[in-house]
């Protein structure tokens, strides 16, 4: 029983990180129909920039704040320089552009920060908490709490604020949104800033546990993408559920079956889900207009 609890704890922790990355995917996808494969690089930048600022002597909260703001700015720049000019391009081209952006950011990070593995201290110490015979790191609670807070924040933003509804309107029908006076250019900027910021936050929260280096982004991007698709692309609830589900499947497979094949189990489940539900768990059923 304690063993199962232990696996669940680690699954929920990893799942919370995946959920944050998947939420980032969802926001950009809703605003622009682009799946941004550079999302993982935002996670890397969040952790890496926090490390650099912290190592330069800044207090941790300030370092984290700077990392999130700078990453958001990079997200906005990416939208302006690489995504907007290619508006209307086919899916394959957009995939290549965002993967190009991710390789570019990774290359830049390698030049600037080197190839070492970095970390910074956990926010509330490293003494594990004992719950029901299993242990959990205080930092795990930060990660899980972060994912929940971001999700609730996004939900309030999208349902209770005018700007949030403008984003939803844009994702529904860009032209119609423009016709009722929504500044869709601003919506795009906002979405990229928000998405990059959430990615960076995931990096800030997870780095004390997972450590960071210039090349961690790709793994986060693939897992976050998979989680978002598992839940149904474009649905924040789906992103949250997909992220936690993916984390739990991985942790339970690693615990009970084989740690080498934990990623395999995750992808087998995704293939099965897509086989029976081609739109993911929470995806809206779409009809194709001819």
């Amino acid at each position: 029983m304690a063993e199962l609890l232990q696996f669940l704890f680690s699954g929920v922790t990893v799942g919370a990180v995946y959920a944050l990355v998947a939420l980032g995917f969802t926001i950009i996808y809703n605003a622009s129909d682009v799946v941004n494969f550079a999302q993982g690089e935002f996670v890397m930048l969040g952790g890496m920039l926090t490390f650099v600022c912290h190592a330069a002597g800044l207090p941790l909260p300030l370092a984290a704040l700077i990392a999130i703001v700078v990453t958001s700015a990079i997200g906005v720049a990416m939208n302006k320089l690489a995504i907007e000019p290619a508006r209307g391009a086919p899916v394959v081209s957009l995939i290549i552009i965002t993967i190009g952006a991710s390789i570019f950011i990774r290359g830049g990070a390698q030049l600037l920060f080197g190839k070492q593995i970095h970390s910074f201290p956990a926010f509330s110490g490293d003494t594990p908490l004992r719950i029901g015979g299993a242990t959990i790191l205080p930092q795990s609670l930060w990660v899980i709490g972060g994912a929940v807070v971001v999700f609730v924040g996004l939900w309030l933003f999208f349902t209770r604020t005018l700007t949030g509804r403008a984003v939803l309107a844009t994702s529904n029908n860009r032209l119609a949104a423009q016709l009722v006076g929504i500044n869709t250019g601003f919506v795009m900027t906002l979405s990229f800033a928000l998405s990059a910021g959430i990615g960076a936050l995931a990096g800030v929260l997870a780095t004390p546990i997972t450590l960071t280096s210039y090349d961690v982004g790709l793994a986060f991007a693939l897992k976050g993408f998979a989680a978002a698709m598992l839940g149904g692309m474009g649905n924040p609830k789906g992103a949250l559920a997909g992220g936690f589900l993916l984390g739990l499947i991985e942790a339970l497979t690693a615990g009970y079956l084989s740690s080498q094949y934990k990623d395999a189990a995750a992808f087998v489940v995704i293939l099965l889900v897509l086989f029976f539900m081609p739109q993911g768990l929470f995806g809206a059923k779409s009809t194709e207009r001819v």
Partner: protein
């Protein structure tokens, strides 16, 4: 005299393969040329899948991995000749593509992307983890093809580089010829129709599911043959051949060069194979430049390099 696009493409390819060596300053360039041809074979498969049929795969390196490891494992464990191992790998890839393709080709766009991605990752994970069979991440040796020795006995003495250059060049020309024939066949027209609009194609009686599956299987065989040739040529193989980045490389080469045409895609393979060779001097900046090239070409030349260049040239003629 008007010659068809098909003959023109084949003519250009034959001339390039036959005459490029005259410009090679050293034997090393045969090796680079052979590498371009190996990549171009896989990329020609992507043209059939993505350029003709409009389907995305982010996992085709999985098939390259199967082809490569078939050539590494079958000669040792089954006693097959390496050339037959290549055929065996292609057959396994075809069967697997058939089985996997049936359920996942119902998916569209990004959903198809994640499903193919999952397939590729599963293959590369097996190759990485089954250490006793594949040697794990360290890779394993691949037996000698032995064809060069036969040629020498027959009086044709080629260096190793020359042998692989011409062998891969000939296989590439064959692969391109098959792809071009397909393009002009009723099947090819049906594929392009479903690329335009799946619903419209279905309405005029195109069996959409069967055709997509055909394109998927054919492109899987191309990727598998490419992987086999890479393994046989290097006489050593690591699971990277099946990795996600290799899948992306294939798609990028095709789309960067111009996924609508065989020649364009082969041009893309040449550019992206040469780029790292040119950049070895600036190894530090390799990723930075590669990412930049990918973004710039897709933003400013969305049709791909070769079609855009050709249009420029023709525009000046008129």
């Amino acid at each position: 005299m008007k010659i068809s696009a098909k003959s023109a493409t084949l003519l250009v390819l034959v001339v390039l393969v036959a005459l490029s060596p005259m410009l090679f300053p050293s034997g090393y360039y045969y090796r680079v040329g052979a590498l371009i041809f190996v990549n171009a074979i896989a990329v020609t498969g992507i043209v059939i899948l993505t350029g003709y049929a409009g389907q995305i795969s982010l996992g085709h390196a999985g098939f390259a991995g199967i082809g490569a490891y078939a050539c590494a494992l079958a000669p040792v464990h089954l006693g097959l000749h390496p050339a037959l191992a290549l055929v065996l790998g292609a057959a396994i890839s075809a069967v697997l593509a058939f089985l996997v393709g049936r359920p996942i080709l119902r998916l569209k766009g990004y959903y198809l992307g994640v499903a193919t991605l999952g397939f590729g990752i599963l293959v590369s994970m097996v190759l990485n983890n089954e250490r006793q069979l594949t040697g794990g991440p360290d890779g394993m040796e691949v037996p000698e093809l032995g064809l060069r020795g036969l040629l020498r006995d027959a009086g044709i003495d080629l260096t190793n580089g020359q042998f692989w250059y011409f062998l891969c060049g000939i296989i590439l020309i064959l692969a391109a010829w098959l792809a071009l024939n397909l393009f002009n066949s009723p099947t090819g027209r049906a594929l392009r129709a479903l690329h335009g609009s799946e619903v419209a194609a279905r309405t005029v009686g195109v069996d959409v599911a069967r055709l997509k599956l055909q394109a998927f299987v054919i492109s899987a065989v191309y990727a598998s043959v490419s992987g086999s040739l890479l393994a046989l040529q290097n006489k050593f193989i690591t699971p990277d051949v099946a990795g996600f980045m290799h899948s992306i490389e294939m798609v990028t080469m095709a789309v960067l060069g111009g996924v609508g045409s065989v020649l364009g895609a082969i041009f893309g393979a040449a550019v992206l194979t040469l780029l790292p060779q040119v950049l070895t001097v600036f190894a530090e900046y390799e990723q930075l430049v590669l990412g930049l090239v990918m973004m710039l070409v897709m933003i400013f030349l969305p049709q791909g390099l070769l079609p855009s260049i050709l249009r420029k040239v023709r525009g000046k003629d008129e």
